[in-house]
């Protein structure tokens, strides 16, 4: 069966799961219906593994299958829907299917007592569906559609516990912030569609390479430099990735998204959906000009560093991981921006494994914490606050073990997957700084800022990850009562953890050679950096590759030292207690407070943008009804009415003026003698008498 058909089956199965759960989920007995969803997802995993095996069997770096249909045909304008299967697609499919399946399994236990249990699995289904859609799309329009659907499922899942205002807010925030990024993406798509007349990646790249792009720009926007427009197109499409992958300045939604159930955080907000931005950047990589790449790299680098600084001070278990995710996504984006294409995508895969592991393991802790708190009838203590944990190592050995593996992996310690990808990224930034001279970043001699961000973030990452471990699993238990009730999570939760733990080691990624630095692994072979299609002043890939080779060992050693320093610091502070963290915080003062409060980004947005904007909206609504409608429209109405009355009087005067003159005179008289008219007969009688007397007097005199 061709890969395309397989991928289409993979696409449709989770949708069936969604529809099934929405329409019939409630009618099935609890703990029955979800197995249908799980079976469907496991089927997709099986199919993905079949595809993967086929890929390894073929071992073709240039493997590629594509098929499309005409979705919208307006004669002069067409939109296609199509499937593109190449090695990247297959790897991504496996990652998504794997994490999704494990999360499905894990959720059975985790969400056991949830009121909307079936709906939860339905939403997982539509999420998986949309994620597959993003993965197999062969054009920008289709990826945009699924992009939005992913946003929808994220909205639904973050807001799963919508009774909590914070959860409902977080869902809305995620959707809207993502949409802001999507505007950019949509504009980029419009540029592409207008100039190149297609959404299809391959056709688009061909047209750019062949000069049709330049001609199109000339025809439509004469005077605009085609290369500038291409840069803009790239940057605009990348804006979608900024939103979805939570890059600065649109990162604010991801930490809030932790309001959703923890398996959801693992699936969507750590492993797959947020990686969609990276995946998109991977897909459009060939059209990025050096300027656009510099932008991408700077955004990614800054985000990596920026988010890491926030993660240091957070006390909420999931918040630390959330900022860590933002930071790691920044790494991937930076890698792509520096031209380390393979490293970026590689980090996506390894990160998906160990970050999903981290989230699921923390979910295991939180689940048990919650359990204990429920038993203690304590509804006030925060089950996610690390300050209530400590010493859990002995109670939850499996969780502790896999958490430790994942932390080593994310910190970039050899023999773990993170080391491979992270090292490649850092080497990439080093090479970029040293050997690349194109793009405004390099031309401004700011290239070295990227390695600085990279290594700085690596240091901080190692520190905060071990801070997390030490606070949670080591030391004295801070709450003895909770501690007493803690125990290891059930099997259905620990098995996925162990699977992911295994996948966080280096073995699976360096096959067939076990040399992690050899560059002969299947991944390095099958994922090939595509040729850039930028016509003029293209990115210097050869120089970069050369630099990469040179930078490899220095970067590796530096990163090892940096990770060691980070871990060492954490040991010093939290195990040996040589340094008091409270004193440190006091000494750092403003830096500490800034970090703790996420550098006040939310407050800046709220007070700087959202509130004034809402005020503006209120003003507009007020203007519309109370001022414009009331004074202008109704005012016109009133004027016209007055005018009509006036005209009526004037008309009467002209037409039967004489009669009306008499009338008016008598009206005046009447008005004058109005006071005489009392309506009392006796008054009238006395007037009559007075009249009689006057007549008499006149007669007499």
């Amino acid at each position: 069966m061709p890969m395309v058909n397989l991928s289409l089956i993979i696409l449709v199965l989770p949708l069936i799961s969604f529809l099934f759960q929405i329409f019939f989920g409630k009618r099935l007995e609890h703990k029955k219906g979800e197995w249908i969803s799980i079976a469907l997802v496991l089927t997709t995993l099986l199919l993905a593994i079949i595809m993967f095996a086929q890929m390894l069997f073929d071992y073709q770096p240039d493997f590629r299958q594509e098929a499309s249909i005409n979705w919208v045909n307006l004669g002069q304008f067409q939109i296609e829907m199509g499937v593109l299967v190449d090695n990247i697609t297959i790897i991504m499919l496996v990652v998504v299917a794997l994490i999704s399946s494990l999360v499905h399994l894990y959720s059975v236990e985790y969400m056991k007592n949830d009121v909307r249990y079936s709906r939860y699995f339905g939403f997982l289904g539509i999420f998986t569906f949309s994620m597959y859609g993003i993965t197999i799309a062969n054009n920008l329009f289709m990826i945009y559609c699924f992009w939005e659907l992913v946003g929808l499922s994220s909205y639904l899942l973050i807001g799963h516990w919508w009774e909590k205002k914070s959860a409902a807010d977080a869902g809305k925030k995620a959707f809207i912030v993502n949409r802001i990024g999507d505007i950019g993406m949509f504009m980029g798509m419009m540029v592409v569609a207008t100039v190149a007349g297609t959404f299809n990646y391959q056709v688009l790249f061909e047209r750019i390479a062949s000069g049709a792009w330049a001609a199109g720009v000339q025809g439509l926007f004469g005077g605009v430099d085609p290369n500038t427009l291409l840069t803009w197109a790239g940057v605009l499409i990348f804006m979608g990735a900024i939103g979805k992958s939570a890059q600065f300045p649109l990162h604010v939604w991801l930490p809030d998204a932790m309001e959703g159930p923890t398996p959801v955080s693992a699936l969507i907000h750590a492993a797959t959906m947020v990686a969609a931005g990276v995946y998109l950047t991977v897909r459009i990589f060939p059209l990025l000009t050096p300027d656009a790449m510099a932008f991408v790299a700077l955004i990614g680098g800054f985000t990596a560093f920026f988010a890491a600084t926030i993660a240091i001070t957070q006390n909420d278990l999931k918040k630390v991981l959330a900022y860590s995710t933002v930071s790691q996504l920044g790494y991937m984006i930076m890698a792509l921006g520096t031209g380390a294409y393979v490293a970026g995508f590689f980090h996506l895969v390894t990160h998906a494994m160990f970050k999903a592991l981290l989230f699921l393991a923390s979910g295991s802790v939180i689940h048990m914490m919650h359990h204990s708190l429920t038993k203690l009838n304590d509804h006030h203590t925060d089950a996610q606050d690390m300050r209530n944990m400590g010493g859990l190592r002995s109670k939850m050995p499996i969780t502790y073990a896999v958490f430790f593996i994942a932390s080593l992996s994310i910190s970039g310690i050899p023999l773990f997957s993170g080391f491979l990808s992270k090292d490649a990224i850092l080497a990439g930034t080093w090479s970029y700084a040293a050997h690349i001279h194109d793009g405004w970043l390099a031309q401004a001699h700011l290239g070295w800022i990227l390695p600085f961000f990279g290594f700085g973030a690596a240091l901080i990452t190692a520190f905060y990850m071990f801070r997390l471990i030490f606070m949670t699993f080591h030391g004295e238990p801070k709450r003895k009562d909770i501690f007493a009730k803690m125990h290891e999570s059930p099997k259905l939760m620990t098995i996925p953890l162990m699977v992911l733990g295994a996948l966080s080691t280096f073995i699976f990624f360096t096959l067939p050679s076990f040399n992690p630095l050899g560059g002969k692994s299947w991944f390095q072979t099958l994922v090939k950096q595509p040729e850039t299609v930028v016509p003029m002043g293209a990115f210097d890939s050869e120089g970069f590759a050369h630099g990469l080779h040179l930078a490899h060992y220095p970067a590796m050693y530096t990163s090892l030292i940096v990770a060691g320093v980070g871990i060492g610091l954490a040991v010093l502070i939290y195990i040996l207690k040589e340094i008091d963290p409270a004193k440190m915080a006091q000494r750092l003062g403003i830096l500490y407070r800034g970090s703790l409060n996420k550098w006040y980004m939310d407050e800046i947005y709220l007070n700087g943008i959202i509130r004034p904007f809402l005020k503006g909206c209120d003003a507009i609504a007020y203007f519309d009804m109370e001022i414009y409608d009331h004074y202008v429209i109704d005012g016109v109405g009133r004027r016209v009415k007055a005018l009509a009355t006036g005209t009526g009087i004037a008309d009467d005067l002209v037409v039967d003026g004489a009669v009306n003159l008499v009338g008016i005179i008598f009206q005046w008289l009447g008005w004058t003698f109005k006071f005489v008219q009392t309506g009392k007969i006796q008054n009238y009688l006395i007037y009559v008498l007075i009249g009689v007397l006057m007549v008499y007097l006149i007669n007499v005199f």
């Binding site: 006796q682 008054n683 006395i686 008498l689 007075i690 009689v692 007397l693 008499y696």
Partner: protein, 163 residues
């Protein structure tokens, strides 16, 4: 003797009429009106108009006055012993009415009335009135009776509650 009686009655009529006009209590007004009517009937006697005098007694005292009393009783609460009535525009009315009265008096006194030398003495006016009424004034009489009938029906209709 009859001269004295005449003037006594004259004064009585005027006083009772003044009470009618000025009394604050409506009941007093009605009863002085009775006195006025009776007094006027007596004046008719002095004017040799026996039939008119009797008619005056029968219709005014027996009919109209009873009607008036009924009117008062129907439109005021019986429990209120003193049925007050108020006036307005009294000073203006006084002036105007006074002026009218003065003019009337001036006219009456300033006029030389063509009074016949010997006053006519009637035996009885009833026969003459009857002859006239069923002779020259028959049509008028019939019209008057129709008027009365109309008034009767009209009054009865008007007085019904549901008009």
């Amino acid at each position: 003797m009859s001269e004295v009686i005449f003037w006594v009655i004259w004064v009585l009529v005027v006083i009772s009429a003044m009470i009618v006009a000025y009394s604050k209590n409506l009941i007093y007004s009605v009863f002085s009106l009775l006195a006025t009517f009776v007094g006027v009937a007596a004046i008719y006697i002095f004017l040799n108009a026996d039939f008119i005098a009797v008619t005056q007694i029968v219709i005014y005292v027996g009919g109209i006055l009873v009607l008036l009393i009924f009117g008062i009783m129907l439109t005021n609460r019986i429990a209120v012993a003193k049925i007050n009535q108020s006036s307005f525009q009294t000073s203006l009315g006084m002036v105007v009415v006074g002026a009218v009265f003065v003019i009337l008096v001036i006219t009456i006194l300033g006029q030389s009335w063509p009074v016949l030398a010997e006053s006519m003495d009637f035996d009885s006016t009833v026969g003459k009135i009857g002859t006239l009424l069923f002779g020259d004034y028959l049509i008028l009489f019939e019209v008057a009776s129709i008027l009365l009938l109309g008034a009767l029906i009209g009054a009865a209709t008007l007085a019904r509650k549901e008009l």
